[in-house]
Structure formats: structure tokens, C-alpha cells
């Protein structure tokens, strides 16, 4: 299937320090893609460029066949993209219910009560985000995604700071979205979780990206094993 979102050959430098030299990212309908890489490799920068959060110094972003030299999140969001940032999604000024209602009204989205119940945050809807625990907040954000019903979901380090039970919830939701035809891209450092869940692995390193294919193929990639996974990693077949 053709990619819905493509960030192609993008580069970005901050105050003269090059973070990305020529990196690419693809989001394909029906696939859960994992973007892996060490701290500081440029994963978040690539995600932010692909979603229009920041502008690249060079390169193109294409969405649903339309190429943009400079694109904004609002343009892509209006066409079905949802960006789950590595920081707060929700405003601290309103209750979770009020913010889900904004999304529902804006995009004629799904029922809030159903989405909240599915994510186990129905009892928390009338509280502000600051009153929720890290795991509850992440599940409330997942409820926002279910209400939005996006065509493409880009999630930046969604597993950070949540317990294993919430992480399982998160993975299940991402898998269900991909199975429903949504193009999902997730970054993170939770290698076993992401390799078990993903359909495809992209490795971000030294300012560029490598498409490694399936998690099994990624685990067989010598440089990826040596430079990222490390000698202690055992692949899904259990062999070192």
C-alpha cells in the first residue's frame, strides 16, 4: 500500500549543530511502524518535521499525494493526521471531557463516553489533566485518538513514564488502529515492546534513517544489532 505520509530526505540543524542530514519517514495505512534510535539521534526532530510541528531546513513532506516544502500541523490535522507529542497533548485549562468534546465537534468524531470507557478513563473525564496520573493521562490521550478517528497517527515516545499495564494497553490500541487501516508510527526506547508490536522498523542514526523491514529482519541487521541493540539483545527467536 502507498504511504499516506512521507517525510523525504529532510535535514535540520539547530544553532549550527546538524541533527538530521538526510532522513526519511513513511507512514503506511494498515501498518504500525517503529522508529528506533539512540538518544539524540534525531527521532523526535524527524517526527516533528513529518507532522509539521517544526520546519525542515531541506526536504519535503507529502501527505496523501500532496507535497509540501513547508507544512503546518494544522494543515495535516485537518486532513486526518493526529500528532501525539512527547509532551502534553491536553491543555491544562480544561477538563478532559471538554477537550474530547472539542475534538468530537471539530471532526464529527466518535462518542466520547465509549472511547473513555474503552480506555478506562470514564471516571476521570471531568478532571483536569494535571489531576490524572501519567498512565491515566496517556489513556485519556488514547481516548482523544479514538474520538478523532485519524487516518494517520504519529506518536512520539508514548511509552515514556507509564507502567507495564498501561504500556500493554497502549500497544493493543496501536495494533487495533493499524488493523483498522490507520497509518501508525511510534517512537521509543522500549525495544522489546516495539519490536513485538511493529510491522516495520526504521532506524534513525547519525542524522539519517535506514528502512530495516520487519522486526525479524531488523534483528538480523548486523549494524543495527551491533550499534543499537547491543550484545545483550536476544531476538524474538531467543538466539543471541
Amino acid at each position: 500500500m502507498n504511504p499516506l505520509l512521507i517525510a523525504d530526505c529532510v535535514s535540520k540543524a539547530f544553532r549550527g549543530r546538524s541533527v538530521l542530514t538526510s532522513a526519511s519517514l513513511r507512514a503506511v495505512p494498515g501498518q504500525l511502524r517503529a522508529l528506533l534510535g539512540s538518544n539524540g539521534a534525531g527521532k523526535s526532530t524527524l517526527i516533528k518535521i513529518a507532522t509539521g510541528w517544526i520546519r525542515p531546513d531541506a526536504g519535503l513532506v507529502s501527505y496523501d499525494g500532496d507535497a509540501y516544502a513547508s507544512v503546518r500541523l494544522r494543515q495535516l490535522a485537518a486532513r486526518g493526521l493526529f500528532y501525539l507529542p512527547d509532551h502534553d497533548l491536553f491543555s491544562s485549562a480544561f477538563t478532559v471531557r471538554a477537550q474530547l468534546e472539542m475534538i468530537r465537534r471539530r471532526f464529527d468524531g466518535a462518542a466520547i463516553a465509549e472511547a473513555a470507557a474503552r480506555m478506562g478513563v470514564a471516571e476521570r473525564l471531568d478532571q483536569r489533566p494535571s489531576q490524572l496520573s501519567g498512565g491515566e493521562l496517556r489513556r485519556a490521550e488514547l481516548a482523544a485518538i479514538l474520538v478523532r478517528q485519524p487516518r494517520c497517527l504519529i506518536a512520539d515516545e508514548p511509552y515514556r513514564g507509564i507502567d507495564p499495564k498501561d504500556a500493554e494497553h497502549l500497544t493493543r490500541t496501536f495494533r487495533e488502529l493499524a488493523a483498522a487501516g490507520v497509518a501508525v508510527v511510534v517512537t521509543g526506547h522500549e525495544v522489546p515492546t516495539l519490536l513485538a508490536a511493529a510491522d516495520h522498523v526504521t532506524w534513525c542514526t547519525s542524522g539519517t534513517t535506514y528502512e530495516l523491514g520487519s522486526p525479524a529482519a531488523a534483528e538480523q541487521h548486523d549494524q543495527f544489532r551491533r550499534d543499537y541493540l547491543g550484545p545483550q539483545h536476544h531476538d524474538s527467536a531467543g538466539s543471541p
Binding site: 510541528w53 500528532y83 502534553d88 497533548l89 491536553f90 491543555s91 491544562s92 485549562a93 471539530r106
Partner: protein
Amino acid sequence: MFAYAELEPVRLTSLGSLQVVLVTAALAWAEMLVLKERALIGNLGVSRASVAAMCAVPAALGETVVILAGFTQ
């Protein structure tokens, strides 16, 4: 502030009113950042012009009322 500046609030000049609107809009923008609303606004697909209008229009309306009140005194 008006007292310190020895200004009468309802008799501001046009430039003064414009400055009030700009400062208020800047504060509204800053509040939006403090409340961490950028991601939500972006995901809602709200245009930059709409955000700017949301920040500036209330102050502009308020200043208009103040100017009109000044004329009628």
C-alpha cells in the same frame, strides 16, 4: 499603571489603544503556551489567523468600547 503614567484610562490615544491590544494579544499568546495548548490547537486544525484573532479580538473590542465611552463623556 495608568496612574503612574499619569494617563487617564478612557482617554488613550489611538496609538495607546493599539499598544494595549498588542500587549493583551501577546499575553494571551503567552498564556496559551503556559497552558500547553499548542498541540491541542494544532491537532484541532485551527489556523494561525484564527489563533491570532482569538488573542486580539477581545482586547480590540474592549478598547473600542473604551474609546466610545471616552467620546460620550
